[in-house]
Point group: C2
Chain length 240, copies 2
């Protein structure tokens, strides 16, 4: 799946944020992961130079952020809303872990705008706010210290959304050309000659040497150029 468009339909909603630095950090976190819609419900300070400083190059996200007076207003026009909650709550709707939830959010974004709602730094979300959303979401933090920074929480959720929306694919292969079987065997034959001639290897006494050498070089997945380097070294030793 490669569903980049889904990320554009995700609204990050920060409710009653106390520290403007966290608003800036959230904007930066969003932009690194390809999100752009920021909605602020009654922020304590906004706009604010601290928010702008922390946003770094993501100040365009702050400039286009919508400021509204209530979560209901922030959710207008959305088809789905997930709420990040730090604690287990007494509610009928079952909660999901961030990774699972991100997959759902991306899927639902096919139908329209979706929202990810974050609470205040110390108080979190009110029960009323959580009730306006369809899915409580949790990040699996340490049992002994669960104090995740707001900007960090936004970063983790946006990352999971990106991972759900965009298959990053296999890591790009190296530019280097792997050696062929023949080249590797050619190297082993050369090594065999060289270490036998040098007296290091004596077929009578050192039965376990070759399995070990093969295990060692086999793990490296040698490249063409490296075979040349190694054989060059061997040739040099042989001449001595």
């Amino acid at each position: 799946m490669n569903n980049d468009g889904a990320l554009e339909r995700v609204r990050v909603v920060l409710t009653r944020t106390s520290h403007p630095g966290n608003i800036g950090a959230a904007a930066r976190a969003m932009k690194t992961m390809g999100l752009s819609q920021l909605v602020l419900v009654s922020p304590q300070f906004f706009p604010d130079p601290v928010a702008t400083a922390r946003a770094a190059g993501a100040d365009d996200i702050l400039a286009s952020a919508r400021v509204v007076g209530s979560l209901s207003e922030a959710l207008e026009g959305t088809v789905f809303a997930a709420a990040l909650t730090a604690r287990r709550r007494e509610m009928a709707v079952p909660m999901k872990w961030a990774r699972e939830a991100a997959a759902d959010v991306v899927e639902l974004a096919a139908h329209g705008d979706v929202a990810l709602v974050f609470g205040n730094e110390t108080k979190g979300l009110s029960n009323e706010d959580v009730a306006l959303c369809h899915m409580p979401v949790r990040i699996p933090v340490s049992e002994t210290y669960s104090s995740l920074n707001l900007g960090a929480a936004v970063q983790l959720l946006c990352y999971e959304l990106r991972m759900a929306a965009i298959d990053p694919g296999r890591a790009p292969a190296t530019e280097f050309e792997p050696a062929t079987h023949e080249q590797i065997e050619g190297f082993y034959a050369h090594l065999d000659r060289a270490i036998t001639a040098s007296g290091f290897f004596n077929p009578e006494n050192s039965k376990r040497l070759w399995p070990r050498l093969r295990r060692l070089f086999g793990r490296i997945r040698l490249e063409k150029d490296e075979i040349n380097i190694l054989r060059g070294m061997l040739s040099a030793f042989e001449k001595k």
Copy 2:
């Protein structure tokens, strides 16, 4: 897999960090995910009140942080080191995405201490530093804006490590008891009587009503208490 001990064997190594706030943010990020070993290679300012402030309750991580003069020193005693790099580099070792790399790091932590190495905020890691590590790691950021904050990068990697080490399991079920099949069918029968008696449902004309009602209530996965509430409502309507 539930491998909490692996997280204790991961050293987070920050090299030549410019902003003490990022050291504090890294400490907090680590602690929320169950990591504790912080090593600082030639930090520009440390200790520093800004680091302590940003660490919030994770100041114990700062207090036990080791400050060293070189990456080699930081890696002493480790069996594996992964290096976070923002850009693709010309090197033989293939890079891995964060999620894949985290699985490897947790696996290798079974053999001893492992390190996750992060570079300077603007310059990243030097080629020499990357060469000291065994695996370049990347976070799949947006192509148009890849400026991930250092603290945020530490947070993401620590989160992936925790996810790799600790299966958070299925999200805990709600406390509420789901209704049984019989209770749900009992509700449907009651609803049928009520809407027929009210004149809302006429079996002759409204063939499509029941499939729709079943689809609607079926999606809710009704709970016992909710069945009681709904049937109470129906009984009240019937009496009118």
